[in-house]
Symmetry: C2
C-alpha cells in the first residue's frame, strides 16, 4: 500500500468530489437522441481526464452509435495488464418530479451524493480515474499496465461495444479485467462477486379462434387459448420451483459444498420485509441464497390475453401469450436451453389451438471465476481491510453481458469490484452513492492496483 497515494486522495478529496460533480452534471442519457451531444461530452470528460493525468494514447473511438473512450498506459514492464471497463452513459431521469434534488445537479445530503449516475456507473468509473491520477501524480507511474475502455451505450445494450472488443482483440489483450459497475450486498459489507448467471428468453403465443368469441355460444366447441397457455406454463415448473422441462438441469454445474457454505454465509435479504411477500419460495433442496446465486431459474415476465378492463366480458379470447426468461448457471448453454424449451412447448400443443414460440435473440452464458483465485483473494483482502469487515463471496442471479463477452473473447478473470449499495436507487429517482463508499472504495482500488502488480 502506498501511503503517498492514499494521502493524495485524502488531501485532494474536495477537489475530486468537485470533479465528480462536474462529470455527474452532464446529462449523458444514451437512449435519448436529444442528449447525443451530452453523451459525447461525458466521453470527452473521461478522455480529457486520462490525457491530463498522463495517459499517452487516448482516443474517442467512433461507433455506429455513441463513441467509446479508449486509453492506455503500458509502461509497467513485467507487471500484469489490467483492462478496466466502465460506462459513462446513464439511464433517463424521469419521472423528474419524484427527485428531491435535480438529477443532473449533484447534491450531497446525509453523507450521500445524489445524482443520476452517482452509482451507475459514473461515480464508480470516477473512483478509478481518481486513483489512477493519484498514482501518476505521486509516483509518476502506475503499478500495473492499464487499458481503459469506457463506453457510452451500456444502458441501451452495448450494441457497438461487442464488435469493438472483437475487432480490437489484440489491442485490448490483458491479464485480467477490472469492472466497478456492481454493488455490495449491504452498505458497508464488502462483497466479492465471483459469478453471474446467463440468460435466455422466449415468448409463447397460443392462437385460438380468429376473433374473440361469445363464451356462451362457443364454449364447448372452441378451446380457450388462455386455458391452453395456463396448461403449458404450469407444465414448465412444479409447485416447488423445480423446472420440469426434461434436460433443463442436465448441464448445470453441481454446486460444490464449499460454495454452498460461502453462499449461505452471505447475509440474505429479508424479503418478507423488503418486497412484501408472505414467505420465500426457493427450489426444493436448496436455500434461497443457493437458488438465487447458483441454480437456474425460469420466470414468467408477463401474461396477456383477452379482456383486461374493469368488470366482466364473457369472451373466449382469440389468443394468449406469455413472455419467459431463464437465468442460467455455468455449464448451461443458452442456445441449448432455448432449444429444449421450444421443442418441449411446440411438440405437445394442447388440442384445438396453434402454439408458436418466438425466440429472444439476446442471450448470455453464465460467468464464474474461482473464488480462490489470487486476484479475487487479494481484492477481498483489500476490501476487508478498508471496510473493517470480512468480505463475503457471492454470485449474482443477474447477468452483466459485458462480463460474459470479456470472458468469451479474452478468457481472462474478471474482477468485479463493485461499491454500490442496495439503497442506491439505480435506474430510479433519487439515485445516490454513499461518500463513505467513495472514500473507502478508492482506498481499496489504490491498494488493489498495487497488489495486482505481483500477480501476473
Amino acid at each position: 500500500m502506498s501511503e503517498s497515494v492514499l494521502n493524495y486522495l485524502k488531501e485532494n478529496r474536495e477537489r475530486l468530489i468537485g470533479k465528480l460533480e462536474e462529470f455527474l452534471a452532464i446529462p449523458s442519457i444514451s437512449t435519448e437522441q436529444a442528449h447525443k451531444e451530452d453523451v459525447l461530452k461525458a466521453g470527452r470528460f473521461v478522455a480529457d481526464y486520462l490525457k491530463e493525468i498522463g495517459f499517452k494514447s487516448v482516443e474517442i473511438k467512433e461507433t455506429a452509435g455513441h463513441p467509446l473512450v479508449y486509453g492506455e498506459w503500458l509502461e509497467a514492464q513485467d507487471a500484469p495488464t489490467a483492462l478496466f471497463y466502465g460506462h459513462y452513459d446513464v439511464q433517463p431521469a424521469d419521472p423528474y418530479e419524484l427527485w428531491d434534488s435535480e438529477p443532473f445537479k449533484p447534491e450531497i445530503r446525509n453523507g450521500k451524493i445524489f445524482a443520476r449516475g452517482a452509482s451507475d456507473d459514473k461515480g464508480q468509473v470516477f473512483m478509478h480515474l481518481a486513483v489512477l491520477e493519484a498514482y501518476m501524480k505521486t509516483e509518476g507511474r502506475l503499478p500495473v499496465n492499464v487499458k481503459v475502455c469506457i463506453e457510452g451505450e451500456e444502458e441501451i445494450g452495448s450494441e457497438n461495444l461487442y464488435p469493438f472488443l472483437e475487432k480490437n482483440k489484440e489491442m485490448l489483450s490483458a491479464d485480467f479485467a477490472l469492472i466497478s459497475d456492481s454493488g455490495m450486498v449491504d452498505k458497508g459489507q464488502p462483497t466479492m462477486l465471483y459469478g453471474l448467471k446467463g440468460f435466455t428468453g422466449l415468448e409463447i403465443k397460443v392462437k385460438g379462434p380468429d376473433r374473440d368469441l361469445h363464451s356462451g355460444l362457443y364454449g364447448g366447441a372452441v378451446k380457450n387459448p388462455a386455458m391452453a397457455l395456463s396448461h403449458i406454463l404450469a407444465s414448465l415448473k412444479d409447485a416447488e420451483e423445480h423446472v420440469t422441462v426434461p434436460g433443463f438441469y442436465e448441464d448445470a454445474e453441481e454446486l460444490p459444498e464449499d460454495e454452498r457454505k460461502l453462499m449461505n454465509e452471505a447475509p440474505g435479504e429479508n424479503y418478507v420485509e423488503t418486497v412484501g411477500i408472505p414467505e420465500t419460495a426457493p427450489e426444493r433442496g436448496f436455500t434461497v441464497n443457493e437458488h438465487i446465486m447458483a441454480r437456474p431459474t425460469l420466470e414468467i415476465n408477463g401474461l396477456t390475453s383477452g379482456y383486461q378492463g374493469e368488470g366482466t366480458k364473457t369472451i373466449i379470447p382469440s389468443s394468449a401469450s406469455a413472455k419467459l426468461t431463464c437465468r442460467l448457471v455455468p455449464g448451461q448453454d443458452p442456445q441449448k436451453i432455448q432449444d429444449l424449451l421450444v421443442s418441449y412447448i411446440e411438440e405437445n400443443p394442447p388440442k384445438g389451438v396453434t402454439v408458436s414460440v418466438k425466440r429472444e435473440p439476446l442471450s448470455a452464458k453464465a460467468y464464474k471465476v474461482d473464488p480462490n483465485h489470487p486476484l479475487l483473494k487479494k481484492a477481498a483482502d483489500s476490501l476487508s481491510e478498508a471496510f473493517g469487515k470480512e468480505t463475503v463471496f457471492v454470485r449474482l442471479g443477474g447477468s452483466i453481458p459485458v462480463v460474459e463477452q470479456i470472458d468469451q473473447l479474452f478468457n481472462i478473470p474478471v474482477v468485479l469490484l463493485g461499491f454500490g449499495t442496495p439503497e442506491d436507487n439505480l435506474h430510479s429517482p433519487n439515485e445516490s452513492f454513499p461518500l463513505e463508499h467513495f472514500d473507502k472504495g478508492m482506498e481499496v482500488l489504490a491498494t488493489y492496483y498495487k497488489e495486482a502488480a505481483s500477480l501476473k
Copy 2:
C-alpha cells in the same frame, strides 16, 4: 289459421314495412345519455301503436332509467294469457364508417332490411305488433289475452325491469311468456330454443412482491405470481375440457338420451371454417353440440400480468390476474358454483403469494322448458309449416337474463320464438334482418296466437 289475418298481413305488407322503417329510424340507443329523448320516442311509438290497434290500457311506465311500455288486452274469456316481452332500445351504432348505409336510415338491399335494431329487437317486436294489429283489424279481437311488456334498457342490463316485474307480479301474471329476441341456427332453418345456460363469474388475483422485481436478483427467492396463477388455472380444468373442481358437476342435470339425440340432429357450425380453429375441443364423452347446449363450461375471459409490450423485460411481476366465467346448466346453482370455485382457489394457495377472489355480482340460473311441452310443439309445428322445413330443437350456451327472471318470478313456460339469423350482425355494423323471415315469422306468429288459444 285465420286466412283473413294472413291476407291482411299480405295486403298491408308495404305499409307495415314503412311503419317498421319509421320505428327503426329512431336512434333509441339506451347507453348514450344524448339519446334519452330518442329512447322515449321509441317507447311512445310502441305505446301509440298498441293504442291505435285497440289496446285499452296502455301506459308508459316511468323507471329510474328509461321507461317501459305496458299494455294489455284481456277480453279473450277462457283463453290463456300470453306475456309478450321485448325491447325497443338498441346498441350503439359506432363505428359508423363501417356501415354501408346509415344505421338509422333503414334501407332494403338483397332482400334484407339494414338498420340498427332490425333484428335485435325492434324488427322482431314489430312483427308481433303487426300480427296483433291484423287480428284486431280483421277479427276485432285477439285469440288469447295479451300482456305486452316492452322495455328500453335491455342493452344496458335491464336494471329497472326486474324491480318492475317483481312489483307488478299480479298485474303481469300469465300462462306463458312469449319472446322473440333470439335467432335460428341458420337462415331458413326453423329453430325451437328450449334452454339457456346460467352463469357466474369471478376474478382471481395473485399478489406477489409489492413491485415488479429484477428476475435475476430475486428469481429463486420470490414466487412468480404469473406462474402461481398458471398453476391455479391449470388446476381448474384438464386437457380434455373436464372441470376438475370437486362438486362442479354434482347438481348438473343428467343429459337424457332423447335430448342428446335432438342436439346431435341440430345442424352444427363448421367452426374450423367460421372461426378459424384447427379443430374443436369438446369435453370428453360429449359431442360439440352437447357440450355447447347442455354441459357447463368454465372459460378464462382474460389474463394480465407484468410486461406486455414489445421485446423482453426481465421482471418477476408484482401480480397476476385472471377473469373467469362459467356457463351453467339446469340443476346448478350459480351461488353454489361460485362458492365452490372460491373455496377451491382460496383454500390451496401456492406458497409465497397471496390469492384473492373477487366475485362477479351478476349471475343467472339456467333455464329449460320441456321440449315436448304442447306450447313448444305447437310453435315448432307453425315454424315447420311456414318455413317448409322440420324445426330443430336446441339449447343455447348463452344466457338471456330476462328469461330466467320470468321463470323464477312466474314459473311459467317461456316460448322463445326467435326469427334472427347468424348473419344478422347483431351489435355490429350493418345489422340486418331478412324480409323472408319477416314475412314467414308473422305467418308463424299469426298461427301461433291462434293455436295457443286452445292450450290453457
